[in-house]
């Protein structure tokens, strides 16, 4: 049996108190056990060690677990409490889960994103659950006057077999609350898990299917006004003047004004991305009235000039230049093509790639590109705020509340103790909700109006506001010798405004001569995290190139990848290879077996792809057929190694979603610009994957192991881009280098 300590850095992160009215409350820090990685953005504030979550056991045996992670559909509100309940050894049906609010004094880090939630929560939740259980046992031992070791628990009941004594947790909770916290507690063995590894339904399922108010967009309060914003129609523009005469005269309109969303001289944090810091606001009684009045605004816009902003985010303080100009997609493509030709910034070099390319018998070079993408969460950006002189209440969808708190403090001129952020369930996040500009906007509007306000973006506002997935280009080169053996590998990738490259990922480590280079181009179009940032492009490019390379070498694409992984395992090149070749190979072998890769079927075109990101390994095989000259995706097989799977059916749901989303974005996803103006404004022009285009079936296989759980929300998304492009190649004999693939599919196929 493993035991764990309940202290970290000599400070206990568990505290036990009595509940008013009887029972026990065990508070703990959800995230204390989590080690920061270089990819994690913020330094750990000392408040991390504050207690931010709790288990309450009432005298009647009811158990309430507090979930501090905001829910955007990845089901953390169900799966995280399952981990706690497992170690606490209670009956899942007696568990109630509550969503914690964001209290600055207690929650300094609540972030859902980067597929980190489970990884961060795992140890701490187990320890907290085990501690509560242990305290129940000690309370029972004391009451019955028997040795601690003789007491067993099951489903919220304590038992002493020799004497036949029995009691529910609730009966002993008040006593347990008075005992000291044990310094060390035993954890269950993986094989003894009863809740983890079994499928449990979404705790909010009933509320969702009955249409209960769950989102901040559904919130209302007495005296609440509705507000909308008008932002510049183009990136590279700002407000010059506003004529609000007509808008003010419209029915139901209370006020029209302009706001600045950031404090003067404000130093931004990593999540302070905001496209337009000055906005025109219309406020009134109802959504419809405000929508109409907004159309009656007469605003003159003017071009911005070059400026600089200071961002204190990832990798320290940086000054970022925001260039003036009205950018267009055609111009972006030309700029990227230009950069792709020039030498980039070397990020990694193994061996002597230049010499190897010089003596190569053959060089294969391919360039891949992808457009900007809009997140298009089904719930548009919105936020409720009620700001008075004494207090600010802000309720909205946010993945990273702790960063926006800093922004609010600076902009509202209020100490954080007076600002209360309530976390709303999110109608989709996908990275966009890491950026909380809407919370500041709502708060500033409420402060100005001295009234509770709900800020609502129209779909058009949401889609044209920015914070897009960047546009990228990657060039891959492979050098082959005269025996048609792989000699050297070169990847050079960049984007606007950032590079997508992870230089130490596969196939780095598997090839003697390896070079990774990056470049980037400045822009005034704002970008942000998007499901599996950077990987969402690199996986598609890299895995399409490897497919083409395997063909050139006359090798089976899975076999070829396995050979490279074998090399990386037995005789790795370089030191910082950030993947485990065994686990990588494991998912490839599993998908090969499950998809019966070695038994191809007539008229079924298959593509394979594998990728490692967010600490999880995924391999996918996609089968498509051509029907009426259109590709129809019959089936996607995925093999996933994300450690222990807490809630398998919910995990499968997330995985299916990632695959559907990947196929949709690969085929259709695209935002374009003309003179700074986003060319797609709503779902009539921005094509999203629909029901009939989704795969007919998806089969997800999890590698069974006892490794601590890792991410699941993101890792199934990136590889499917290449599984699809490689299958499309089989169907068309044409390679797909440019996303969205639909543009290369216009002519349809021969049957």
């Amino acid at each position: 049996m493993t035991t764990v300590k309940t202290t970290i850095n000599r400070r206990s992160f568990i505290k036990v108190t009595s509940l008013a009215g009887g029972g026990m409350m065990l508070s703990f820090n959800w995230l204390a056990g989590c080690k920061p990685t270089s990819q994690e953005i913020l330094a750990l504030p000392k408040e991390w060690f504050e207690l931010n979550s709790y288990i309450k056991i009432g005298e009647n045996g009811a158990v309430t677990l507090m979930s501090p992670n905001p829910e955007f559909g990845s089901n953390v509100k169900t799966s995280m409490p399952m981990i706690l309940a497992e170690e606490l050894d209670i009956d899942w049906k007696n568990v109630r889960v509550e969503q914690a609010d964001f209290f600055p004094e207690r929650f300094e880090r609540q972030f859902t994103g980067g597929s980190q939630a489970i990884r961060q929560g795992w140890k701490i939740l187990r320890t907290a659950g085990a501690t509560a259980r242990q305290m129940m046992i000690r309370a029972a031992a004391q009451t019955w006057n028997v040795p601690v070791e003789e007491i067993t628990t099951e489903a919220g009941t304590l038992q002493h077999l020799p004497s036949g004594k029995k009691a529910g947790y609730g009966e002993l909770a008040s006593l347990a609350a008075t005992l000291p916290v044990p310094e060390e507690v035993p954890l269950k063995k993986v094989k003894d898990f009863k809740i983890i590894g079994t499928s449990r339904k979404n705790v909010d399922g009933l509320k969702i299917v009955t249409g209960k108010p769950m989102f901040s967009l559904d919130h209302t309060q007495d005296g609440m006004l509705v507000a909308m914003i008008a932002h510049p129609p183009a990136f590279g523009m700002k407000v010059k003047s506003v004529d609000d005469t007509a808008a003010r005269a419209m029915p139901g309109i209370k006020d029209v004004f302009t706001i600045k969303t950031l404090a003067d001289e404000y130093e931004r944090n990593g999540f302070d991305t905001t496209s337009f810091t000055e906005l025109v606001v219309v406020a009134g009684n109802t959504t419809w009235e405000v929508m109409n009045a907004k159309k009656a605004l007469v605003i003159e816009w003017e071009k911005i000039s070059d400026s600089h902003i200071v961002v204190n985010g990832w990798g320290g303080k940086q000054t970022v230049r925001i260039p003036a100009g009205l950018e267009s997609t055609a111009g972006h493509k030309a700029q990227m093509a230009e950069m792709a030709k020039k030498p980039g910034k070397v990020l990694r070099k193994d061996g002597d790639p230049e010499a190897a390319f010089k003596r190569a018998a053959k060089v294969i070079e391919r360039t891949y590109s992808a457009p900007y993408l809009a997140h298009n969460t089904m719930e548009p950006v919105n936020c409720f705020a009620r700001v008075t002189d004494e207090h600010a209440e802000i309720y909205g969808p946010i993945q990273a509340p702790e960063s926006i708190m800093q922004t609010l403090v600076a902009r509202l001129g209020m100490p954080k103790e007076k600002i209360h952020i309530k976390l709303a369930r999110m109608g989709g996040g996908f990275g966009q909700r890491a950026y909380g500009h809407h919370m500041v906007e709502a708060a500033v509007i409420s402060q100005k109006l001295k009234a509770p306000v709900k800020l609502v973006y129209t779909r058009e506002d949401d889609m044209t506001y920015g914070i897009y997935r960047p546009t990228y280009t990657a060039t891959y080169r492979a050098a082959l010798d005269e025996k048609n053996q792989l000699l050297a590998f070169h990847v050079k990738a960049g984007g606007i405004p950032e590079t997508p490259i992870h230089p130490n990922r596969f196939p780095a480590g598997a090839i003697d001569h390896y070079l990774a280079e990056s470049w980037s181009i400045e822009s005034n179009i704002t970008i942000g995290a998007f499901r599996a940032p950077r990987s969402n492009f690199m996986a598609g490019a890299e895995q399409s190139f490897l497919d083409e390379l395997a063909e050139e070498l006359g090798k089976d694409p899975i076999e070829f990848r396995l050979e490279l992984l074998d090399r990386a395992k037995t005789n790795p090149v370089g030191e910082n290879n950030d993947y485990d070749p065994d686990r990588y190979a494991g998912v490839l072998k599993l998908v090969r077996e499950k998809s019966k890769w070695q038994e191809p079927q007539p008229n079924i075109h298959r593509g394979v792809s594998a990728y490692f990101c967010h600490n999880s390994y995924v391999a996918e095989v996609l089968d498509l057929v051509i029907q009426n000259k259109n590709p129809v995706i019959q089936k996607v097989y995925a093999a996933v190694d994300c450690g222990i799977v807490v809630n398998p059916d919910a995990a499968a749901n997330m995985g299916e979603g990632g695959i559907v989303d990947g196929i949709g974005n690969a085929l259709y996803g695209e935002m374009t610009f003309q003179d700074g103006v986003p060319q797609k404004t709503n779902f009539d022009t921005y094509r999203m994957i629909r029901q009939v285009e989704a795969p007919k079936s998806i089969e997800i296989h999890f590698v069974e192991n006892e490794t601590d759980p890792t991410g699941l929300g993101e890792p199934l998304f990136p590889p499917v881009f290449a599984a699809l492009s490689n299958a499309l190649y089989k169907a068309t004999q044409k390679r797909f280098y440019e996303q969205p693939f639909i543009s290369g599919l216009d002519q349809g196929f021969a049957d």
Partner: protein, 151 residues
């Protein structure tokens, strides 16, 4: 402004507003029935789907003046406790992720199954094609409609 007498989820109610107001906003802003969602406002996503005399209708483009005597049913009026067969099937398949599109999906499915109680897989896909789900729960939606059609 004009007065309209509406029949919403079996209850008579009166509203006084701009006749052009879409039913979506009448429900959400005036009647506090917020289960019906705003997604696009241009009849492209299906999040706002309600029933008008049992027929699935996009409420975001439906002016309140066009409702007349027709009965409006929203997700809140589908059942008392979430025990409509379609809702039950949704729970059985644990369909939702973020949940935002699901009321619209369910309303579309209910109206569809009323007209076509034993649909083929292809008919289900076509019927549900107007409802976007950004989270990609399409396969579970299909499966849930299938299950509901058997009950």
């Amino acid at each position: 402004m004009a007065i309209f007498n509406l029949n919403v989820n079996g209850k008579k109610t009166q509203v006084d507003l701009d006749p052009a107001t879409p039913v979506l906003w009448v429900l959400r802003d005036h009647l506090n029935l917020v289960g019906t969602k705003y997604g696009c406002g241009i009849a492209q996503c299906g999040a706002c789907t309600i029933h008008l005399d049992g027929v699935a209708t996009r409420s975001c483009l439906l002016p309140v003046a066009a409702v007349g005597n027709k009965a409006i049913t929203t997700i809140e009026g589908l059942s008392e406790n979430g025990d409509h067969p379609v809702q039950k099937a949704w729970l059985e398949h644990d369909v939702p992720q973020c949940g935002y599109c699901q009321a619209g999906q369910i309303m579309t499915a209910v109206a569809f199954l009323k007209n076509n109680p034993h649909p083929s897989d292809e008919e289900i896909e076509t019927a549900m094609n107007g409802n976007l789900c950004r989270c990609g729960t399409y396969l579970r939606i299909r499966a849930a409609v299938k299950t509901a059609s058997k009950s």
